[in-house]
């Protein structure tokens, strides 16, 4: 998984009818301490994450291993909201 921060959303009406009723979020990759990187992903939100929250993204075929995205055309999902990151015995990120 990789870290990312929710920075926006995408609205699309004409799309592959795979996943219904889920939000498409724009997630910007970030460092463990929250510093943003210049990389953006569109991810399906499975955990109800909000703007600015740090989340965990799962990519590739593993993104299809959830109830809502099974056998669907999806390669990036938000699988968790980060509360805390501890690195080398010190707290680098806290929600």
């Amino acid at each position: 998984m990789i870290f990312g921060k929710i920075v926006g959303t995408v609205v699309s009406t004409q799309k592959d009818d795979g996943v219904q009723g889920k939000r498409y979020l724009i997630v910007q990759s970030c460092q463990p301490n929250g510093d943003l990187l210049n990389e953006f992903h569109v991810a399906i939100d499975l955990v109800g994450s909000g703007y600015g929250e740090m989340v965990l993204l799962s990519q590739g075929s593993s993104a299809r291993q959830t109830q809502d995205t099974y056998q669907k055309a999806v390669d990036c999902v938000v699988v968790g909201i980060v509360d805390l990151v501890e690195e080398k015995n010190c707290l680098v990120y806290q929600k």
Binding site: V7, G8, T9, V10, V11, S12, T13, Q14, K15, D16, G18, Y24, I26, N38, F40, H41, V42, A43, Y51, G60, S61, A63, R64, Q71, K72, A73, V74, D75, C76
Partner: protein
């Protein structure tokens, strides 16, 4: 999924037999905060009828074979959605109906 803009199409007459009759679109990945191209190009199979100039997002890897159009085809990039609007930090950075192109 990755955001991109459809900037052209690709025609190939001598190709893998299985991908006969599928439209190939030339995509340029975009940075959603500036809506500028990243000079990073991808040829994707069209799963939703996207046209030139439209902003889309595509699925890469094995998931790109999970659409009706590309099932069982040697595809690793398929357009799965045409974007209507993109909101970043609370304001619209892209709205399809207000594009002046």
């Amino acid at each position: 999924m990755i955001l991109a803009k459809v900037i052209g199409s690709v025609v190939s007459t001598r190709k893998e037999q299985k991908i006969e009759g599928i439209k190939f679109l030339l995509l340029e990945k975009i940075d959603p905060t500036t809506m500028q191209g990243k000079k990073d190009y991808v040829v994707a199979m069209d799963g939703v009828g996207a046209g030139e100039g439209e902003v889309v997002f595509f699925v890469a890897g094995s998931s790109s074979r999970m659409t009706a159009v590309t099932e069982g085809k040697p595809s690793d990039a398929t357009i799965v959605a045409i974007v209507d609007s993109i909101e970043i930090g609370g304001n619209w950075v892209y709205q399809k109906d207000q594009v002046d192109s």
